[in-house]
């Protein structure tokens, strides 16, 4: 493999008619990295992933994936990546085992039967191997799809919201596995809407309206945002919540149960606002480290203002 970057794309652009779904996006993903791909619905995550694996032709831009040209060498790329689609896309009218066998054959694996046997074992689906894939529950479909896209031992995994609808325990197991794979040198690009998952990624990219707003590690993104966050607790929280939103320096007010997170980039103004609440017996306040969620919401509102 050439270079240290498994994915290295520049200016990647995709238009659907008037809509610019992906707008000059540049991404560099290192080998062995778990790279998180975040952004609100319709921000262009799926479209970007599809362009990387040759399912959509970019209108502009260039780049390499695993050292192969994204524009001209899709076949080489496809052989070496595992793509898990956002929508379940195994054959619902084939059994679990038949699906896996089909995929193993598509990638010309040496001993498809044995490979499928192993995979079934790993997924704990051996007993249900003859069940139609369409009859699996939502979470199990996800697990099967994930197992399927790793069947041919790809060098790069492109996972489009792999844990949507999966229970917490399975989600944790899944992420443990992702990290295990990363340790063994496999690169993972994973899109997600879950903050706890974002925190488990080595690096993150945040996309909004097709544009890349920020990239970096979690702490780097928090640093970049220049955000200050205060946590309010106490019985008076609900009463002040609405009025806070309109006060100077406050960008976002988010309720976490009985606590409020108040964030803003203008530290001085925010501090003044918080100070005005001091002295109320029913409120306690302390400055905290901004969470990724605060940061992303900040990025988003910034992008809206710019537009």
């Amino acid at each position: 493999m050439t270079g240290e970057f498994v994915i290295d794309i520049r200016n990647l652009t995709k238009r659907f008619g008037e809509l610019v779904a992906v707008d000059h996006v540049a991404l560099k993903v290192r080998r062995g990295e778990v790279f998180g791909f975040l952004g609100p619905n319709g921000s262009g995550k799926t479209t970007t992933i599809r362009m990387i694996c040759g399912l959509l032709t970019p209108d502009e831009g260039e780049g390499t994936c695993l050292g192969y040209d994204v524009l001209t060498q899709s076949a080489e790329i496809q052989r070496r990546i595992g793509y898990m689609t956002q929508k379940f896309s195994l054959y619902e009218d084939l059994s679990i085992q038949e699906n896996l066998l089909f995929i193993a054959r598509m990638y010309q694996m040496k001993d498809p039967a044995a490979l499928v046997e192993d995979t079934l074992d790993r997924l704990a689906l051996t007993a249900r191997r003859r069940q139609l894939a369409g009859n699996l529950s939502g979470g199990w479909k996800q697990r099967l799809a994930l197992g399927a896209c790793m069947l041919h031992e790809p060098d790069l995994l492109l996972l489009d919201e792999p844990t949507a609808g999966v229970d917490p325990k399975a989600r944790r197991d899944f992420w443990d596995q992702i990290h295990l794979l990363a340790t063994s040198g496999i690169t993972v690009l994973v899109s997600t809407h879950y903050m706890d998952e974002a925190e488990r990624c080595h690096r993150l990219a945040y996309l909004a309206n097709g544009r890349l707003l920020a990239t970096g590690t979690g702490p780097e993104l928090i640093e970049q945002s220049g955000l200050a966050t205060w946590r309010l607790a106490g019985s008076g929280v609900e009463a002040v919540s609405d009025q806070l939103k309109a006060m100077p320096g406050v960008e976002t007010v988010t309720a976490f149960g009985t606590r409020l997170h108040i964030s803003g980039a203008d530290h001085a103004a925010l501090e003044k606002t918080i100070a005005s609440l001091r002295g109320r017996a029913d409120l306690t306040m302390e400055q905290v480290q901004p969470g990724l969620e605060d940061v992303f919401i900040h990025f988003l509102s910034d992008a809206k203002e710019a537009a």
Partner: protein, 379 residues
């Protein structure tokens, strides 16, 4: 508890939604207009139950005023188009087997001599009776004009010959289907019709189904070649098609007593070509359509002219030239000639070759389009 009441607002909302969806589905909308238009044109202009101007060959061993006069009388009926004029009967046999002519009219060597002697010389009208409907009116016309055809030439001493039954002894020889059994024509043809209908439909649906179910995205993300997808998709249907053909052939033999005179091997060979052509057409349609519904509409759109302009329901030679032109581009047209030739006329490879190569050309064109259009991407 209140019974649910009929609501006009709800109904109006439902109707409005359906209209909007119909508008969005451009292809369905186009078919709604396109199919009746096509039927109007096909039934109104292309199809002719009283086919005229049918191809005929003349074996004219006697070139006299009388024979010319008689042939002129036949031509004047409007039913014949003399496309070949030879002196020896053997020279036209292959045209007959290949279906290039439907009639062979033989005027014997000593025609005019026997005629003036009042010996009522025989004129042989051989008919390809495979399609009884196509030839019926033409035969009737010959029978009508023959007794009085030479009246103008029967002057002076020949005057007496005008008397009934006329100076010519017309002999009609129905080849291939002497008893005029319609099934002889339709049952072999059905093989082609059934294959066209089912094969084009199932393959047209094949890719659309994957697209609708969302499996196409995964399929396309795997390292498959377009040609692998295409061949993989159509192969199972080749097997299915052979089962269909076997059923129809057995039914033809057992239920309808249709003869199978020619070689089954030759028939199988022609079949495989025809099957592949249809599958390729279906596959091409599937690269155009987005949904299964559109696929079946497109298949219907293809099936309609196939059945009407191929010579299956209505005589091919009776259609106007433009319709024959379209007909020649349809695989069913050629396959009908092949299957009828082999089953009813014991046609050999050389006889059906004129209908084999057009199928090959169609296949070449269609697969090129399919592979050009087919792209393993979602855009």
């Amino acid at each position: 508890m209140a019974r649910p009441r009929f609501s006009l607002t709800r109904l109006a909302g439902m109707i409005r939604k359906e209209f909007i969806q119909l508008q969005r589905d451009r292809l369905t909308f186009a078919m709604l207009i396109g199919i009746p238009m096509m039927q109007l044109i096909l039934f109104g202009y292309a199809i002719n139950a009283d086919p005229k101007y049918l191809p005929a060959a003349i074996v004219q061993a006697d070139d006299s005023e009388f024979s010319r006069s008689y042939l002129q009388a036949l031509e004047n009926t409007g039913y014949f188009n003399f496309i070949a004029r030879v002196e020896r009967r053997e020279e036209v046999e292959h045209m007959f087997t290949a279906g290039e002519v439907l009639f062979v009219i033989t005027i014997p060597e000593d025609f005019s001599r026997s005629l003036v002697r009042g010996e009522r010389p025989a004129i042989l009208l051989e008919v390809d009776a495979t399609d009884p409907i196509a030839i019926g009116p033409a035969i009737a016309a010959v029978q009508t004009v023959t007794p009085a055809a030479l009246n103008r030439d029967m002057e002076g001493v020949l005057q007496d010959l005008k008397a009934q039954p006329g100076p010519i002894d017309l002999r009609i020889h129905r080849r291939y289907n002497p008893e005029n059994i319609t099934q002889y024509n339709t049952v072999p043809g059905l093989i082609g019709v059934i294959l066209t209908l089912t094969l084009v439909m199932v393959t047209a649906i094949a890719l659309a189904r994957e697209r609708e179910r969302g499996t196409l995205e995964y399929l396309y993300s795997m390292p498959l070649l377009p040609v692998e997808v295409m061949i993989g998709k159509i192969t199972p249907f080749i097997v299915g098609a052979y089962i269909q053909v076997t059923i129809v052939l057995i039914a033809a033999r057992v239920l309808f007593h249709v003869p199978i005179l020619g070689s089954l091997w030759l028939l199988s060979l022609a079949l495989i070509l025809f099957i592949i052509v249809n599958l390729a057409i279906g596959f091409t349609l599937s690269t155009i359509v987005k949904t299964q519904l559109q696929a079946s509409q497109m298949a219907t759109f293809f099936f309609l002219p196939s059945i009407l302009l191929s010579g299956f329901v209505f005589p091919f030679k009776g259609m106007p030239v433009w319709a024959q032109f379209i007909g020649e581009a349809l695989p069913l047209t050629h396959f009908l000639r092949i299957v009828r030739g082999i089953m009813l006329k014991d046609a050999a490879a050389a006889d059906i070759w004129p209908h084999i190569w057009p199928l090959m050309v169609i296949l070449l064109v269609v697969s090129t389009v399919a592979l050009k259009r087919y792209r393993a991407t979602l855009d």
